[in-house]
Symmetry: C2
């Protein structure tokens, strides 16, 4: 007798040479893309444990709890993983503007043949 | 007399040490995230010139016209640029599955406390 147990696929994130992968954050309700940042293993673990998005700041070379200083946390509703596990898609509810410029989304300019135009 | 001319902001993409930036592709109509890949200056230029998404394949180390072999081109409707110009958001209409696995989107699994579950 063979007992089959349905196992979830293993989560084995594929990090780059710097130990990072890209994380794309969209608004869980509107679907708008909010920001793209990077995560290391610790940032992923803390995000999963707390439900607040954590990243790795490449400029500061430090773990970064988004909203730690601004109060604009990203409350993570779902995390999706891509086919080769080198990218995460976080669906989140933002407590405020996601962009450090104060814009709701980091993607506030359109690329046209002439250059960048505000949306 | 000072004549003020409204100039579009300059597009000055900020590439990483490898000459790449991340490009996030979502479905122009449904808003679903389809895939995340990388672009170099040539991929950006060809995408703008042709309206078909081009990337840089890190595994093949070659310019990659998405759909070149599968026929599943990504028809780019809009390109948005993030605050620090190191990421592009392409809104596109896909001619077929965006994922090499045949899935409509590369993001077809949910990360749960147990592991990966199909959506």
């Amino acid at each position: 007798m063979v007992i089959k147990v349905r196992m979830a696929d293993m989560f084995q994130p594929k990090f780059d040479a710097g130990g990072l992968l890209a994380a794309v954050v969209s608004h869980a309700e509107t679907g708008a893309l909010l920001m793209v940042a990077h995560m290391n293993a610790e940032a992923i673990a803390k995000t999963r444990a707390t439900g607040r998005a954590h990243f790795w700041s490449r400029s500061r070379q430090a773990l970064w709890l988004k909203g730690e200083t601004s109060g604009h946390f990203l409350k993570v509703q779902q995390i999706l993983v891509d086919c080769d596990q080198d990218c995460l898609w976080l669906k989140a509810l933002p407590d405020g503007p996601a962009c450090h410029t104060g814009a709701a989304s980091c993607f506030f300019r359109l690329l046209t043949p002439e250059g960048l135009e505000p949306l």
